[in-house]
Amino acid sequence: MPMPKPLELKCIDGRCPPNIDLVKEIALTPLEKKAIFFCLKNSIETLKERLREEIPD
């Protein structure tokens, strides 16, 4: 395993270490984001469909 680059956390004006911001780069890939939403949307649509079926003609 390659040695991680040494990092030093620094506070500027008492604020949180700026390089922690890098962690925000860790995110869902666009595909993962869509896939999760698709599954959730399907559940929502199924529920709506079930309710519609309850309405008589």
């Binding site: 860790i26 995110a27 309405i55």
Partner: protein, 186 residues
Amino acid sequence: MKKTNLSISVIERVAEVFGEVYEKEADAIFRFCLLRTSDREVALDFTQDTFMRFWNSLLLEKDIKNHRTFLFTIARNVIIDWYRKKKPFSLETLMENATEGRSSFVLASTDNVETNSEAEFLIRKIAELPEPYGNAVYLRCVEELKPREISEILGESANVISVRISRGLEQLRALLHLEHAHAKTT
């Protein structure tokens, strides 16, 4: 009949709110789950589970004052349930992935290897922080929640949370300092 029609209209209204919140918060919730599980697949499942519970709460018209803190609270509960049911070997998973050259912490928005490695390194170090410091530092410094918001998620007073953030950051600096010293000697 009226009740059913109303329910459909509620669902459509709720679905709109849900879509907006999902778009805005999905990455943050995923990151939080990843930090605590070190397993991308598990974190994906937990993100989905969290939003499904959020959807159900919206449907029940629960009084949700802050969607963000509400979601983090759900995610935290999902993770706690998981720890209770099955003690995970997240560190082992992490080591296995590292040995095999796989990483759970793939960055979505950049192909920059150096940024990727720094972000991964930092999140690992935050994950190494013992509780009660890890969550407080993470939610404050990465997700930029206010101590009052973090106190809602973690069920402590804002003062307690501020102390945890401060002590947690000291520990994080110490961890990074040790790593730096270790890297220098090898």
